[in-house]
Amino acid sequence: MSEAKIVRPDEREDKVGDGREAVGRAIRLANLDLPEADRELYCDARPQAVKPYNGILEKFANWARANSLWILGFGTGCGAIELRPLMTSRFDMYRYGIQPRPTPRQSGVFIIGGYASVKTLKRIVRSYEQMQNPKFVLALGSCTINGGMYWDSYNTINRLDHYIPVDVYIAGCMPRPEALIAGFNKLKEIIRAGKGEGANKYAENFDWYKANQKKVIRDWNMPDYNW
C-alpha cells in the first residue's frame, strides 16, 4: 500500500526546469501553444511501469484482484449486446465478483466488444490510459483478432493488440455469455499466475503503441498520455 504512486501534475520526475519552453518546442508538446493558465490541463507525462510486490503479498493481491473484477461500462462495439445478458439473471456475472463501474478511474477490466473503428479507437485509448495500474483487457470477437467481418474496411482496425495490450481474446461473432464467462475464468487464472501485467507492458512499449495509434488516429487533439 505504501508503494502506490500518487502523481501530482507538478511533481513528476521528468519535469524539466526553466528550459521547458525550449525542450517543448524541440519535441512539439501538445500543450505548448496554450496560455500559461491552461497548460497544465494538457499533461506531457509518460506512463511509468510499477514493479509488483514480492512473494506472498503479491499472491494475496492477485487473489483479491482476480475475485473482484470491475469492468468499465463502455460498450465499444457490438459485443456490448452480449454484456446485457451477462449482467442479468440468467448468466449472472455478479456471482463471479464481476461488477460494472461507470468510470475508467475505478475499473480494472476493459472489455473491447467487437470491431473498433478509428473513431472508437481514439476513445478506447483515452479511457484505457485513465485506468489505474493494474488493468486488464478482454477482447471479444474475431474483429479484434484479425479484423473479422470488417477485415477489408477502411475504418476498422485489424489487430487490437498493436494499439493496447490485450490479455485474453474470446473468439466468436459475438461470443455468447457462456464464452464470456469462460474468458473471464481464463483471465482470473492469468491474474492469479501473476501474468496480468498489461499496464506495465504498455508503459514499457509506450512509444511503439503510440506510433501505431498515431498512424491511424489522424486528428490527435488530446495529450499523448491521457492520465
Binding site: 501530482r8 475475485n67 473482484s68 449472472d92 456471482r95 465478483g97
Partner: protein, 305 residues
C-alpha cells in the same frame, strides 16, 4: 490501566465489530436483492475483497490537497457519528463515548462527512462530480428537515438530548418504545432514514447509472477503498442511532444485529419497489408530508408529555 485508554480500546474494538457487520450486511442485502431478481448475486464477503483490491491498486492520481482530504473527512464523519452513540445499552464494551456527546453532535457528524466529500469531489475538477455534489447536498438539506423535527419531538418528549437517557427511557418492554409512544416522530424519522441511506427512490445521487456515480466519480484506488470502508461504518452508525432513538435500543449484541438488520430491510423493501425520484421531486417530497408529520410529532410530544 487508565480508564480513558481502556475506553479508547473498547471503542476501537466496537468500531471493528461495526465495520465487519457493515460489510457483511451489505453483502447479505445485495444477495437478498439478487434473489428477488431471480439470480444468485455477489458473495457475502465481496465487500472485503473489493476494499482489499482497491488498496492494492498500484497507482493513483491525486488532484490536490482537498481531494486527498475528502475521503478522510468522510471517514471522520462516519467514525464520529458512531463514536458518540451507545451501540448496546448497558454494555461496557460497546458504549463508546456516549457521555461526551448528544444527539445534536451526532447529527452534526452525519452532515459533516457529506460536506467534506463535497469539497474533495469539487477539487477533482470532474464536472460530473460537481453535479453529484450539488444533488447530494440539496437532497441532504431536504431530508434533514423531518429528521430534525422528529429529534425535537423526542427532546420535548423525554426532556433530554442525551442518547443514553433516551434509550434508558424506552426500556421495560416494547410498549415503551418511541414507536408506540410517539409514532409520528418514528414515521418522520424512518422516512428521512430512507433519504439518508440513498436507496431508491432517493438514489439519484450515487446510483452508478446516474451521471456516473455522483461525487465519487474521480475517486479510485486507496481513496475509493477509504470511501467504501466508511460506507460500511456509516450505514451501521445511522442504523444504530435510529435504533436507539426510535426502537428501544439494544441490550444484547444479538438484539442490535437483529434490530439494525430489520431496520435496513425496511430501506431495502422500499428500494426494490420504487424507481428513482429526480432531485427536485425528492426535495418536494421531503418538504411536504414528512415535514407535516414531523410537526405533528412535535405538537403531539408537547401536548401529551
Amino acid at each position: 490501566m487508565n480508564p480513558i485508554v481502556l475506553q479508547i480500546l473498547f471503542a476501537a474494538i466496537s468500531l471493528f465489530v461495526i465495520l465487519n457487520w457493515g460489510l457483511i450486511l451489505g453483502g447479505i442485502t445485495a444477495r437478498i436483492q439478487a434473489r428477488v431478481q431471480g439470480r444468485i448475486g455477489i458473495p457475502v464477503w465481496q465487500g472485503y475483497i473489493d476494499i482489499i483490491k482497491n488498496y492494492f491498486q498500484r497507482t493513483s492520481i491525486s488532484h490536490g490537497i482537498m481531494f486527498y482530504l475528502g475521503p478522510i473527512f468522510r471517514v471522520a464523519g462516519g467514525v464520529g457519528t458512531y463514536m458518540f452513540i451507545p451501540a448496546i445499552f448497558g454494555s461496557v464494551l460497546f458504549s463508546n463515548f456516549h457521555f461526551a456527546g448528544d444527539v445534536i453532535l451526532v447529527m452534526y457528524f452525519v452532515f459533516f462527512g457529506q460536506l467534506g466529500m463535497a469539497l474533495g469531489a469539487g477539487e477533482s475538477g470532474h464536472p460530473y462530480s460537481a453535479i453529484g455534489v450539488s444533488r447530494g447536498l440539496a437532497q441532504m438539506t431536504a431530508f434533514e428537515v423531518p429528521f430534525a423535527l422528529s429529534v425535537i419531538a423526542l427532546a420535548a418528549q423525554y426532556h433530554t438530548l442525551s442518547i443514553t437517557d433516551i434509550v434508558a427511557a424506552q426500556q421495560g418492554g416494547f410498549v415503551h418504545w418511541t414507536l408506540f409512544t410517539n409514532p409520528f416522530a418514528v414515521i418522520a424519522g424512518v422516512i428521512s432514514l430512507l433519504g439518508m441511506n440513498m436507496h431508491n427512490p432517493f438514489s439519484v445521487v450515487i446510483a452508478p447509472q446516474e451521471i456516473p456515480i455522483g461525487p465519487p466519480t474521480e475517486y479510485h484506488s486507496s481513496f475509493l477503498a477509504l470511501l467504501q470502508t466508511n460506507r460500511a461504518i456509516f450505514n451501521i452508525a445511522k442504523l444504530v442511532l435510529f435504533m436507539n432513538l426510535f426502537f428501544g435500543g439494544a441490550t444484547t449484541i444479538w438484539g442490535m444485529l437483529i434490530k439494525t438488520f430489520s431496520l435496513y430491510m425496511v430501506t431495502i423493501f422500499v428500494g426494490v419497489s420504487f424507481p428513482r425520484f429526480r432531485v427536485d421531486q425528492s426535495i418536494r417530497f421531503f418538504l411536504r408530508v414528512p415535514t407535516v408529520i414531523g410537526l405533528a410529532a412535535v405538537v403531539f410530544a408537547i401536548l401529551v408529555f
